[in-house]
């Protein structure tokens, strides 16, 4: 019992020092309070060295963690996936772009983007093929014209060469057809690019028409050649039509896929024409000698046409190199959008089944990285809420949900609830002390216990023990138990004072 003697001696000699020292100690402990964390995550439920925890951690590291979900809800299905809502989502995605802890975003908007990227890739491929096709046609025509020129110079006929060149011309056209097929697959909203291409084609076609007319004039003597000229004119007319359709198409996104198909038809017609020309050229070779003069004119015409086609190919290439014209983007027209999201039979594409439910709800899913800090989760869900509050949609209701949002709400109400409980605990204790504890300074135990609670919270910060949903209960328990000890001390002391007073 030496310790007890020592204790009472210590208190008797330096009571003031002891009080001050203790309060300083309490304050030192309390300084750790701001470091105290609120924890609601998996690490509060299960030990970190268990297999289940490690497995889940590995999963989250490799495939992302929890998801925040934004739900778009519309009364009418046609209000749901519109240009407005897609733009709304794009804006939200842009706002979230600055957060590093987002694993991925899954939404109709990102899917539309995917589709449009794919389409633009196909479209560019198509254009490249058209370019090389035109280039080939151009150089073939120039070659033909050269050969024809040589022939008119009195040399032996080079019909074989011409035929070869014509075959290459044909080859070029085939390439153009292929290209158009790809364009057809990739077409949705490349309106700008298509419009420019249409313009170029139009110009080239007009040139071709001019050439053909010239040719026709120069060859008016020969009815058979007149037929060829007619075919060339027809071909150039087809080009003009094609370019017009392309222009139209660029204005009206919905017809876009039909257009390359028409183009293909047109080009096929041209190819057929060319094939019959090829046959004619063979005949021509035979009659060559007598028609040298006519051929000269034809050659000049073909040469001009060839250089025109080459120019057209060059222009198209420049056009493609300014890729801004056909960079993928969100559709600006409802019809283009519909084209992207619905199958031909009107069903929603399978790709969207994950984010569109019952034609009434649409999901914007933000999947976070694994093991993300609670504060980051709160920040991101806060940013989403802020965006939804700032940009409201007319016919569509929005809502943020998901586990991170719920956890955030739990943390907030944990704080509120703790404050409320602390307040009530104190109030109840004041009541109990006033009614039950009949001594002087009867509220002193409460003051002392509050200091102890503050010190405990601070110490938890220093020792980095987090505050969980369970440990919230500590405060009322601590106040209840702790005050019990303080009451015992004070009541015994008062009893001693009283008995001595009476003695």
């Amino acid at each position: 019992m030496k310790i007890l003697m020592f204790l009472s001696e210590m208190i008797r000699k330096n009571p003031m020092k002891l009080i001050i020292l203790s309060i300083v100690a309490v304050l030192l402990f309390a300084a750790g309070a701001p470091a105290m964390k609120m924890a609601t995550g998996n690490e509060t439920l299960i030990e970190e060295d268990t297999k289940a925890y490690k497995d889940n951690l590995a999963l989250e590291e490799e495939f992302g963690g929890e998801s925040i979900l934004v739900l778009y809800e519309a009364e009418k299905s046609e209000d749901l996936l519109t240009i407005d809502t897609v733009n709304h989502m794009a804006g939200l995605e842009k706002k979230l772009g600055s957060y590093e802890d987002i694993y991925t975003v899954i939404s109709p908007n990102t899917m539309i983007n995917q589709i449009s990227v794919k389409q633009s890739e196909k479209y560019k491929e198509g254009l490249d093929e058209v370019i090389s096709g035109l280039d080939k046609m151009g150089s073939s025509l120039t070659d033909i014209s050269k050969k024809l020129n040589q022939n008119t110079g009195g040399q032996p006929p080079g019909g074989k060469n011409i035929e070869q060149n014509l075959a290459e011309l044909n080859n070029g056209l085939s390439k153009m057809i292929d290209g158009q097929k790809r364009l057809s697959a990739g077409t949705a909203q490349m309106a700008n690019g298509y419009a420019e291409m249409g313009g170029q084609l139009h110009e080239a076609a007009l040139n071709m028409q001019k050439v053909s007319e010239q040719l026709g004039k120069s060859l008016d003597s020969n009815p058979q050649q007149q037929k060829h000229v007619q075919q060339l004119i027809q071909m150039s007319n087809q080009f003009v039509q094609l370019s017009q359709k392309m222009n139209e198409a660029s204005l009206n996104g919905s017809k876009m896929t039909a257009i390359p198909e028409n183009t293909i038809k047109g080009l096929n017609g041209m190819q057929q024409g060319l094939n019959s020309q090829k046959a004619t050229f063979s005949e021509l070779n035979k009659k060559q000698a007598s028609q040298l003069n006519d051929l000269k004119t034809l050659s000049a015409g073909l040469s001009e046409m060839g250089s025109n086609l080459s120019k057209m190919s060059e222009n198209l290439e420049t056009m493609v190199s300014y890729s801004d014209n056909m960079s993928p983007g969100l559709p600006k027209q409802r019809k283009t959008l519909d084209k992207m999201i619905y199958e031909e039979n009107g069903d929603l594409r399978d790709l969207f089944s994950e984010v569109i439910v019952d034609d009434k709800y649409m999901l914007f899913i933000v999947k976070l990285e694994g093991n993300v800090d609670d504060s980051v989760k709160s920040e991101i869900s806060g940013a989403i809420k802020e965006y939804l509050d700032d940009y409201k949609l007319e016919d569509v209701e929005t809502m943020v949900s998901g586990k991170p949002v719920l956890d955030d709400a739990i943390r907030t109400s944990m704080k509120e609830s703790m404050q409320k409980m602390m307040g009530l605990s104190i109030l109840f204790m004041i009541l109990v002390l006033t009614l039950v504890f009949k001594v002087r300074w009867r509220l002193l135990p409460l003051v002392v216990i509050l200091l102890a609670v503050v010190a405990t919270v601070g110490l938890m910060g220093w020792l980095s023990i987090p505050m969980t949903m369970v440990s919230m209960a500590v405060f009322p328990i601590l106040i209840g138990l702790g005050i019990d000890y303080a009451i015992q001390f004070q009541s015994r002391y008062s009893e001693e004072m009283d008995t001595r007073g009476e003695a």
Binding site: S22, Y361, I410, V432, V439, M469, V470, Y485, R500
Partner: protein
């Protein structure tokens, strides 16, 4: 006058430190040992709870010793000019008379009291073994929170509420064999567990979706062509790991545990050479926690009781004396479990700690009564006389203590958190049980077990045989 006052305060200080500090210290050690059982819980938040409580009561003790007592001493020693009279000590209050009557009755019916206490406790422990465990965090939080309503609505819309993930790893998850295995797994799981599984998804099912329901010839090429954002949800960058996500219905903890167990053995059954599988995800974590709570709970209580017993044994050096304060605690644990069972209250991570808390709080009361009882026995009083005095004097103090504990705990009742208000309710019931157990059962136990504790005079033994 002043000198007299100084003397008085110094003497009071000495007496206080000498008598009450060791008593409270013993109670705190017992309480702390009870709380220490919480450290062994496999659930981290319960460990943290235990740490906080243990820290808290020791800090409270030192705050009382080094702040409260010096303040009182300073007040009386240096400042008080006159000593007011406090409570009138001589008054025999209504409470005291009531306690006296009650104790008499208890002693005359001691066998019945013990029988009733024991049988209800045994029934309670039996029921407690059947009590469920609630681990759904959403049932703990304030139920009118908008975020909670939102998530429920979301679930109604989406149909599937939870997810289990089968993670598999192999050299190349996109080779033909693995893809075929993935495809078989993805499809067969829905067929195997039609009542639980809502949907399954994997890289194989996505490939089929884009290829008219067939696995394409060149899965690797197609996957490489797919947008990265879509692929990385199912296959990792190194193509060494993949996941099959299994969307399931919202299940009760026990059902979920069963399902995951079945799924694990099913997946293991179908495991293919070179492919490693793991069933994981948040649901698996939840199940793990349920097991921790259900299995750890009883061990925790037993360990707490064991620790307190060892602690008391070290202090009293007498097995029966160390055991006596624990007997009423065992009853309370049983009764508490019985209440949980009767009212069909599921255990939460918080109420799972009740055992340790009961030990912590209850021993304080029982120790105080017992100490007083043996103090009076040593003075030469008979067992019955001793218990009458102890219950009259300490019973009053215990009532006051109980009231203050109830005052503190009742704040829990008003918490918005269901988990806390339930816990508050249970702790209040338990503090009430502690009072009953201390005032009614403890006297019966003390009188009955007195013969096992050696006491000074023979005369006492004669009295004992007459009544017992």
């Amino acid at each position: 006058m002043e000198k007299n006052n100084n003397q008085k305060s110094i003497l009071s200080l000495k007496q206080t430190v000498k008598h009450i500090v060791p008593a409270v210290m013993t109670a705190i050690i017992a309480t702390g040992l009870g709380f220490m059982a919480l450290f062994t819980s496999p659930v981290p938040m319960i460990q943290d709870f235990g740490k906080m409580l243990t820290l808290g009561i020791f800090i409270s003790f030192f705050a009382g010793l080094f702040i409260l007592i010096p303040i009182l001493f300073t007040r009386d020693h240096f400042f008080a000019k006159e000593s007011k009279k406090g409570i009138k000590t001589g008054k025999s209050s209504k409470t005291e008379r009531l306690l006296e009557g009650l104790t008499k009755k208890v002693i005359s019916l001691k066998w019945l009291v013990i029988f009733l206490a024991l049988s209800t406790a045994v029934f309670g422990i039996w029921g407690d073994l059947k009590a469920g465990v609630e681990t759904d965090v959403e049932t703990f939080m304030p139920q009118d929170t908008q975020e909670l309503k939102d998530i429920h609505k979301l679930r109604d819309i989406l149909g599937t509420t939870d997810q289990v993930t089968i993670m598999y790893s192999t050299d190349n998850v996109l080779d033909k064999e693995t893809i075929n295995w993935t495809d078989r797994m993805t499809e067969s799981i829905s067929n195997e567990f039609p009542e639980v599984v809502v949907e399954t998804k994997s890289i194989a099912s996505v490939l089929e979706q884009t290829n008219d329901g067939k696995i394409p010839e060149d899965p690797e090429g197609i996957v490489n062509d797919m947008p990265e954002d879509q692929v990385k949800l199912l296959v990792n960058e190194g193509r060494t790991k993949g996941v099959i996500t299994v969307g399931i219905k919202h299940l009760e903890a026990s059902e979920l545990k069963e399902f995951i167990g079945n799924l694990e053995s099913y997946v293991e059954d179908k495991e293919q050479n070179g492919i490693d599988t793991t069933v994981t995800g948040k649901s698996v974590l939840d199940v793990e926690m349920v097991s921790s709570l259900t299995t750890g709970r009883h061990e925790m209580t037993l360990l707490g009781i064991g620790l307190v017993f060892i602690g008391l044994l070290a202090i009293y050096r007498h097995p029966v004396k160390a055991f006596i304060p624990l007997l009423p605690i065992l009853f309370i644990v049983g009764w508490s479990g019985g209440i949980m069972y009767l009212f069909d209250i599921s255990y939460t991570p918080l109420t799972a700690t009740l055992g340790a808390l009961i030990i912590g709080i209850g021993t304080e009361f029982t120790i105080l009564i017992m100490e007083r009882f043996y103090e009076e026995r040593k003075k030469g009083f008979s067992g019955i006389e001793a218990i009458m005095i102890a219950n009259k004097k300490i019973g009053k103090a215990v009532l006051a203590s109980g009231l203050s504990v109830i005052g503190g705990f009742s704040a829990l009742l008003v918490s918005d958190f269901v988990i806390l208000s339930n816990f508050g309710m249970m702790t209040l019931i338990n503090v009430f049980f502690s009072l009953i157990s201390t005032i009614i059962v403890m006297p019966a136990i003390l009188v009955l077990l007195d013969r096992l504790v050696k006491t000074k005079t023979k005369a006492e033994r004669e009295v004992q045989t007459k009544t017992g």
